[in-house]
Symmetry: C2
Subunit: 391 residues, 2 copies
Amino acid sequence: MSVTAAKGFRAAGVAAGIKDSGNPDLALVVNDGPRRAAAGVFTSNRVKAAPVLWSEQVLKGGQVSAVVLNSGGANACTGPKGFQDTHATAEKVADVLGLGAGEVAVASTGLIGVTLPMDKLLPGVETAAAALSGHGGEKAAIAIKTTDSVHKTAVAEGAGWTVGGMAKGAGMLAPGLATMLVVLTTDADLPAADLDKALREATRLTFDRVDSDGCMSTNDTVLLLASGAAEVTPEYAEFADAVRQVCDDLARQLIGDAEGASKDIRIEVVGAASEDDAVEVGRSIARNNLLKCAIHGEDPNWGRVEDPNWGRVLSAIGTTSAAFEPDRLNVAINDVWVCRNGSVGEDRDLVDMRYREVRITADLAAGSESAVIWANDLTADYVHENSAYSS
Amino acid sequence: MSVTAAKGFRAAGVAAGIKDSGNPDLALVVNDGPRRAAAGVFTSNRVKAAPVLWSEQVLKGGQVSAVVLNSGGANACTGPKGFQDTHATAEKVADVLGLGAGEVAVASTGLIGVTLPMDKLLPGVETAAAALSGHGGEKAAIAIKTTDSVHKTAVAEGAGWTVGGMAKGAGMLAPGLATMLVVLTTDADLPAADLDKALREATRLTFDRVDSDGCMSTNDTVLLLASGAAEVTPEYAEFADAVRQVCDDLARQLIGDAEGASKDIRIEVVGAASEDDAVEVGRSIARNNLLKCAIHGEDPNWGRVEDPNWGRVLSAIGTTSAAFEPDRLNVAINDVWVCRNGSVGEDRDLVDMRYREVRITADLAAGSESAVIWANDLTADYVHENSAYSS
């Protein structure tokens, strides 16, 4: 599993002392080749953390030999000093592993606006390098956790090749990528351009459609490294599908572990005039705090409360610019069409809300396009966790 | 105070039995003239309640003789039956008061997707008509409450003329108007065109800049009725200023009474390249759940928590399309510039969070335009109130 499922990779996760808790906080992933092709997708937030600015430059070369990741500090909004620290981290990894710093990607997660304790981080790089192993994927996945309750890994097998990955993320999850770090590895042999295409297609349909709390991060990073160690070059479509499978698996794990959440909400918008319309409507529903509260609170008796919450769905749809007629909108909750033609539909007492997954289907009756957005409910636990957050 | 502060108006508030609680739920406001000029502003939500669709037509005539308002049911997403009910309500008011239904505005608030109990509402209209009084403004303001903890009224005095008003609203507060009903009255003598101009200018800068929870309602209605009973025609600027004063007063009361809120957050965006940029950034900050939680949770010790929450402000700014350079952004919390040039600024321990009002100042350093948006914190009480809502 994780980033060492594919041949040609070693990884490690250690406690460098960046976190006061003493928990693991530094991960290293090394591509031993023979190939070093790589692709990356980063946050669309215009306020980007120093490691994002650095890694964007590294990926322009299409080659990554190693990735160093730390939790316990995002190194975001830290000014020139923050960028110097990221650069020094990459240089340290390069020195220890005998690489060029220009092939070392850096990723950080944790608190914004705090500079990293370099006196602990740099020695930690040496400790991690000494611990590198072809079985170190799990430890690496554990070392990048912040408020994650579990570490997250996934794998997909091809014919003689593998795609594996790890992810962290439990809050500030929103389109344009969640606060999350993801590293995917494969031993398939593909050029950087194919990796980039496959990764962008996959993130667009998976991580970019996760919207836990509408808050976009400054540090989001998704990397795909190919070692070519399997000496196999799969069909592009087959490979792209495997990458999407792994991304989808990890994205679902992110939603399932979102801070304070008690429900995973699958919002499917159908009958849209365009995919963009479907996504806009899905996100508007996903970000409606009143609806997110209702889904939390009415478990298991959604149907019994006085307020038919499909009204909150309609009021969310009504704020978008998507093509639709209000009196043609249909809404289903867990497959019960509680709203028909913009008004009262089937008996909402038929809706069973006992399970963690809640399915909202919004039919715009305006076309044949669709999209799925994943969200979470809004709970008192979310409020508590985020009113007293520390890494 | 309220809608009967101005000469030429009578009002009443009664319990018609629309609410199961037996609390007052029907209000009537009558303009006895001699003038009946009126203006209205309605929700920009594309899913509009039946009374909004009706009243929009009424206001096209520029004349309103009476307004009937009910709480206990929004009559939104109720299909053709809902519109018939609104029409029947207007006809009933017209019959009882000897008016034309085309001069009777209707407003409703409460649960979405529930049809009104007309067998109780129509007799209630007769009761309200019998109770009409030149001192009925307070009772009318009380009758339109839903989850409001207090009724809301305001008044501004001109030279020989008066502008008074009432409002309801405690949740689903967002730009494009909050879930709120507002009726303003004046005894000044102005044509409908001037009333419309003054009302739009005022709502743009007051109600439209309230964003309690990012949720836009289906029922928002703001009406301004002029009786001319003072036989005075003030300077337009003087009158417009009085209307804005009353709207601002009522808007602040709405924020101060928002569901579950423990903080009123005044977000001022300065140094913007345009007013639109300032408003976009202000709303993005106002809707950031992580920040809203932080402001709630860190009272009174915002500064002591590990997470410097100005980072959450920057990440919210970073999601906008406004003109700015990340490394030039400055953020002040209660006048302490905790973020300078996109990085750590003054010591955040200097921030005093003991008071209900929290002031966030975001300087985009990109121009000279500015805007103020009012928001609330996100609390466990909000979650609770909205996970078990009933009128």
